[in-house]
């Protein structure tokens, strides 16, 4: 391949194919799980782990496509005013079965259920799905989405009751404004966070722009992911 742009495009097309195939596999798995859950709960549990792995691969593919688009300057958001509740529901709906089988309770609490915000709903749904896959892996048995509005903007948090983020990760987020290096240190988790940060930053209003924060819960120590949108 003499032309590197061609190579990128071929890779992007391949990623798309893999992503479509993955989504078919995921769907088939879901149907199989539905039909065997009662008879063989153990196997269903294993298959649900597989679905979660498929979710991880899917997130990685989304990141690869994102890199491709940033690289070729076609990474362009589509802003629209949407109901935040709808976006969270769309992000969580494909995980319902997995959550149930792993015994994880998911709570969604909106301070105002009618909250609407100007965002790119597809990108934000991707951020939330990404964080959700991560949290499912590390939580004990609870996940909670909370949405509230302040003077500075809208905040969506996802709190789990696992062991929390390691110090290294939280420090990294707060001390280095350039998260590019993150991807090399922490593998795909870092790349995922890098994208979340990029997408948050696309959401600006006047002088302010969105961002993400990682903290641990002051009481039970679980991980708290915060997405601030302006």
């Amino acid at each position: 391949m003499s032309n590197p742009v061609d190579m990128h495009t071929i890779m992007a097309a391949t990623v798309h194919d893999v992503k479509n195939a993955l989504s078919l596999i995921d769907n088939e798995l879901r149907e199989v799980i539905d039909s065997i859950t009662e008879r063989e709960p153990g196997s269903a549990m294993k298959l649900n782990r597989l679905r979660l792995e498929a979710g991880w691969i899917n997130n990685d593919l989304v990141h690869m496509l994102g890199l491709y688009r940033m690289n070729t300057d076609i990474f362009r958001p589509n802003f629209d005013e949407v109901l935040i509740e709808d976006v969270i529901q769309d992000a969580t709906s494909r995980y319902q079965q997995t959550l149930a089988s792993l015994g994880i309770n998911l709570g969604i609490e909106l301070e105002d259920p009618d909250t609407a915000w100007v965002i790119d709903p597809v990108l934000i749904e991707g951020v939330l799905a990404n964080i959700l896959t991560n949290s499912i892996r590390y939580t004990a048995d609870r996940l909670d989405f909370r949405v509230f509005e302040t003077d500075v903007g809208l905040c969506i948090t996802l709190t789990d009751n696992g062991a929390g983020y390691p110090d290294k990760m939280m420090n990294f987020m707060s001390e280095t404004p350039d998260p590019g290096e993150l991807s090399f240190q922490n593998g795909s988790t870092g790349l995922g966070l890098y994208f979340c940060q990029q997408i948050a930053q696309l959401h600006r209003q006047g002088e302010t722009q969105g961002y993400i924060r990682l903290t641990n819960h002051p009481e039970h120590g679980g991980a708290v992911f915060m997405l601030w949108l302006s």
Binding site: S23, N78, S93, D114, A116, V118, Q205
Partner: protein, 531 residues
Amino acid sequence: MLIDDFSNVRKSIKGMLNSLGVSQVFEAATGSEATKYVREQRFDVILCDYNLGKSKNGSQLLEEWRTRGWLSYQTVFVMITAETSRDFVMGALEFQPDDYLAKPFAMDTLQNRLDRWLDRQSALGPINRALDKKEYPAMAKAARELMENKPRYRGWAQRKYVEALVKQGQTTEATHFLHALLDKRDLPWARLELHRIEVGEGKLELAERGLKTLVMMQPNMVEAYDLLAEVQILIKQPQKAQETLSQALFRSPRSIARQRAFAVLASDNGDHIAATGAYKEIVSLADGTMHESSRGYKDVLRSTRTQLQSLDDEALKRRLNKDAQALLKKLICQYPNELDTALFSKAYRAYLADAADTEATDPMFLASIAQAALEQLGELGEASALDIVDILYEKGLTKAADELVLDLRQYHKGSGTFVKRLNQLQAEPVTQEARSHAHKTNTDDIEQYKQKDFEAATRLFAEALEFSPRHPGIILKYVQSSLLLMGRSRLTVSQLDRSLDIVNHYQFERYTNIRDKVIALHTKVNHEQSS
């Protein structure tokens, strides 16, 4: 109603819907089947797969139903797409569905969405009922009520409110309302509507500035590019308008209206390659849709002919000619019963004919077309009439062409622009011969010019200009030799004025644009090399 070309997919989705308590489900496998249903009754929800096999695709269906007013606004139209094709296929469409659904989807997703659609649609019911009946004051009232009573759907209500105001011509109120919204939050749709109103009120510079900012911030909003191009045409910047539309087409190439606007602009700008390309795109997009007509083929052929006239490259000319011949065959084959098309295609057959086609190269053949046109003036469209006249002149049948022009002028005396074009063709028959004559005179001139006989050269260049009035080379040489003549004080003021007038060529702006781009690139390359 469920629209999908695979019966097993329909069966599986219908199964889900039934178990969710939806009892009445209509199924359609093709666009035409769906169209029949949609014209007969009003559906609560339509689930339509984007890809319908050989039939029209989902967005073409939606476009046809919306433009023809067959789809009630009370119906929720949902487009089903493969998960990853959404941004590639759907990202920027003018007729947006009410929602998308990525396939394959699970039952809980469908349930979730159904609840959402039906709740929203019942809240918006009074507004959409008024919109269906085109009762805009009632629509505005209903939208106001929804804004006050249901904060959840305030965003939807605001858009519908502005739409209702604009439909009633209450632009001042709409402007106030939009400004109040934008003071609180930046909303791309509100900006677009504001600029649309500005364009309507003739505030073109304001709109141009605003739209440029909008496409920078919201680069996928194709409607903003369309409106910006409209403004640029109005403020006489056709080159910029073409550039703007080409950016919109890059993002959303599947709109026939946009391709056509681009082709017309490119053609006016003398960019015949781009124009022919866009016209070809229209023919392939229109295939099987409401837009399919002989017009698309005619546009491509017309544009190719213009392109052929300005080409010197014989090999390229032969290739274009061959393409055009193939297209002409299709046109004749697909529209055998249109009289206009019959006359048009005969004229083009004569124009494109090579020596082997003895029937079409016979002057009698062209004369018979002129005669047939005279007898069927009422059936002959204006565009085809101009083509036939032009071809007759170009092939040297001046007398037949003059006769036809006379009758056409009489028949269409109400249509000013058409008569003007006819007069132009008659006054300036730019035939192939005239062009080669101009070329020869031009070559003779260069000899005189080289021998510093500027007086003779100027006279000969002026003669060449008679035959080829817009040839940039001849214009420049005429002006140069005139100016050199002036150096010897043998030039009149009127000659000087003429020099200034014709050197202001219609391609000048294009030249400066290209030059600016080259300079910018030059600086960039230098900068990159030095750093």
